[in-house]
Symmetry: C2
Subunit: 191 residues, 2 copies
Amino acid sequence: MQRMEEMILANGKVLPGGILKVGSFLNQQIDSVFLREIGEEIARLYEGCGVTKILTIESSGIAIAAAAGIVMGVPVVFAKKHKTSNVDGAVYAAPVHSFTHGIDYQAVVSTDYLTAQDTVLIVDDFLASGNALRGLLYLCEQAGAQVAGMAIAVEKCFQGGGDELRARGLRVESLAMVESMTDTEITFRRS
Amino acid sequence: MQRMEEMILANGKVLPGGILKVGSFLNQQIDSVFLREIGEEIARLYEGCGVTKILTIESSGIAIAAAAGIVMGVPVVFAKKHKTSNVDGAVYAAPVHSFTHGIDYQAVVSTDYLTAQDTVLIVDDFLASGNALRGLLYLCEQAGAQVAGMAIAVEKCFQGGGDELRARGLRVESLAMVESMTDTEITFRRS
């Protein structure tokens, strides 16, 4: 998506530790006009794939998932992050390690909201090492749901998660693919 | 909003401790068609009020704020919840006590995303005692921003937060106002 690359180049900031800050338009502050375009692009990419549900994880994936849901007209489910491994009730749970925040958590979703009848589109704002997405995949697996694929706003290719998921045969669509970045330059992967 | 009341009656569940569960259509799982209607209704209520920014707090307010933002075409900012009072950087911060979760946290937003030039619409999914909303108001006050009002999906009137905010002269629009609820009956306030 040309415009995602333009927005990153115009407004993104590279911070120490390989962090790409897009807080001015994609998370924390969200450009709503651009958000609608993101929803439309995700809907276009997965048109005709029989998606019945969008799955994301709190917090920063929710706005993007909601935008895609509004355009596609399918329900959005978000997994919650629990700090403890003591998760009660009828839920699916998957352990996730966050490199960004240096913590482990459980991604949790009620068994009511993800079923074997669902064809799921997994949506998130970032794909780096892919741990959060593998957690969401594992939730779908527990539910017996089909996975149509993933739609990601920004993939940091150099962290390898996206290519690992593609090598497993999964469809991964990233609206911008950052091949490398330094303090002064961001380079995108061309397919 | 007639349809919010209908959705609550058809799909809401009253749990012990005065909790109204709307996870099947409003949070955790979100009915995207209904979400768009919510966005349109909020836009209608605050049409002509000069809103420049929508402010919410993670996580369950984000989808509603995003829907309103998409219809209104204004940026959405979400405050983050920090568990500690040690919040660094150029941020506004407000202490909040959550009765639902029995914890204290800081609602935090970057000073970049809320300014004295903004006219803010505060959006959230629930209004009970009003602590989270008072925290968001305090963030606006620190920024010197105007507050056009608040738009809430579900107000639990019997917990008093909404009336306290209205008594302070604030405009509070709740799409459904639950006057009372028991295991078997939910009663709405009629204005």
